[in-house]
Symmetry: C2
Subunit: 342 residues, 2 copies
DNA sequence: TTGAAAGCGCTAACAG
DNA sequence: CTGTTAGCGCTTTCAA
């Protein structure tokens, strides 16, 4: 039983397609009798509206696109999940696009999403080598998460306060006695990592700790693979050990933090006695390391809610009333890895 | 510059829409001259094909749907990512649907995907309270991952060999001296957990270890929340400690394994000396626990590849030539948590 | 090599 | 309350 269309229903129930359309969408008026008859036929045939045709006609798809760098990442998958849920509940479906942090793929997806006539767009992070407007996408409402657009027509920007995050974490390390904290990050040029860098540096500066990019920062290649640690290059270990002074670490994600923990252990250093560590994202696993990892927690629910509300507003009004930029505070979760015996 | 349609292009380049369509799709024949002219106009207007209209006409959408219980889960997000990548590379876009393990949501999504005319479907795990065929979805090619369908028309089933996984893990525990291994799982009725249960029980039986569901199995509620361990109920701790004999644990995911590790440590038990543990999924974090967690590794790449190839075959031929069922072997990664001093 | 025209399945005036 | 009709943007015969 396939390919039953509105026309078939019309024929079967002895009315016109217009009437069928009316009862399906419950608009316009029709007699209770016709309504019932049509509904019965629909029920018995298993008819389902063809949303493609409907979309073509109405120019609305009831779907939104989410562009995300890496669905595998804790933070990303959690926001995506929450946004998806929210929109599902109000009758939208979600096209999730994984870009692998590849600008070309992102561009392709953006074009596709536009040609699929999504009603709205959520763009999460990703390297910003271009703006959607560059490729002619200017009238679709867009919510950016963690990526600050240059050109914000019909769009809004939401992000955790990464500056505050880094500043808070670093200050905490210093307060716990660290004289030489370092920052661990990836070599990706994201707007959030810029913010984190300056939060980190500002905290040092305010505490009169001299810093240099070489001595206080270690950059992992984006491709760094925790899985094949056999071929682990020595540079990180060297960084950690050559610089005898290093006594504090702020890692831009928990995995990096946990990895540092592991390397330090192998080198016979004690955490937190010799070195203190703070991770990022507060992943479930971070609770169970030895010692338990302190971590920055992003307010994922808040970000998702904000994103959904903003996007809905944009889609309805075609412009946003509130400020076009929202910074969401983070929370430092202090566990064992960052404080001396407590 | 919006809403430029094929008709506009036709007008602008002084040819018919049919011709424009021909050059866009590069079929039918047209003079080199017209071709160039049309292409130029397209370029300059930033025209992009409306895929909705195209789909309506061709009855093909060049998109597939992926239905997944929890995008946040390590295994799921990794398969999804790989499948997405594969299809992206051959020009398909992917609609990822997160069901939260809710059969109702799954049903809704399935209907939606059908009415959006996806060309194929990947359904990952999830509670099987119904079959897509039950709701009238019978002609879309479907690949099931980790969920064995009763009624497999136009579909194929792919899964890690969960029986082998459990059997192997348990046998290993026994070989390492465990007299009383237990299985940790969730209260979800999935086809993979059935398999794991019987693999576990068979291993015990073969080694003449008497087992009972009460003493050898602990079931976490699906909703078990590692985040709010404050309100941790005592039942798991009791299970682990009351049964003095417990000396081996096979957990259906790493997080459960790591959690057990933590509880045992608090109770003063040594791993692996007193109790040996094996997790599941070989997540990156499992490498960095103390002691390092042994784990079962699924061959995600293989599963994804198989899924893609099968789906493509189904979509082309409308039936599968090979067997409609594929079991992918798993690998036991032995680390510190499961073997006595080595 | 190109154009005219039909039609994919649906909605929304407009008319009755 | 209901039917007729045009048309969303595209592809694809069929003629020319």
């Amino acid at each position: 039983m396939e390919n039953v269309s509105i026309k078939d229903i019309a024929k079967l129930s002895g009315v016109s397609v217009a009437t069928v359309s009316r009862v399906i969408n419950n608009n316009g008026r029709f007699s209770e009798e016709t309504g019932k008859k049509v509904r019965d036929i629909i029920e018995s045939t298993g008819y389902r509206t063809n949303r493609i045709a409907k979309s073509l006609r109405t120019q609305k798809t009831q779907s939104i696109g989410i562009v995300v760098p890496d669905i595998t990442n804790f933070f990303f998958s959690n926001v995506v999940q929450k946004i998806e849920k929210h929109f599902f509940d109000i009758g939208y479906s979600t096209i999730i696009c994984n870009t692998d942090r590849d600008p070309k793929k992102e561009k392709t997806y953006l074009k596709m999403l536009e040609s699929k006539m999504v009603d709205g767009l959520v763009i999460i992070s990703g390297v910003k080598k271009f703006e959607p407007t560059d490729i002619g996408i200017s009238l679709i409402p867009i919510v950016y998460i963690d990526r600050e657009p240059n050109d914000s027509v019909n769009s809004i920007f939401i992000s955790s306060d990464h500056y505050q995050a880094a500043y808070t974490a670093t200050s905490h390390l210093i307060r716990q006695g660290c004289k030489h904290p370092v920052l661990l990050l990836y070599d990706r040029a994201s707007s959030s990592s810029e913010k984190r860098l300056s939060g980190f540096l500002d905290a040092l500066k305010e505490n009169h700790i001299f810093s240099s990019l070489e001595e206080n920062i270690f950059t992992f290649p984006s491709s760094f693979d925790f899985v094949n640690l056999d071929k682990e290059d020595e540079s990180f270990r060297n960084f950690l050990t050559k610089e005898q002074k290093i006594d504090g670490i702020f890692a831009v994600n928990d995995l990096l933090g946990v990895y540092a923990l592991d390397v330090l252990r192998k080198e016979g250093k004690k955490v937190p006695a010799d070195v203190k560590i703070i991770g990022f994202d507060n992943t479930p696993y971070s609770r169970f390391t030895t010692p338990k990892l302190s971590s920055i927690e992003q307010n994922i629910q808040e970000i998702a809610t904000l994103a959904c509300d903003s996007l809905k507003q944009l889609m309805e009004n075609n412009y946003i009333k509130t400020e076009a930029k929202r910074l969401v505070p983070v929370k430092l979760i202090i566990r064992e890895s960052s404080q001396t015996n407590k």
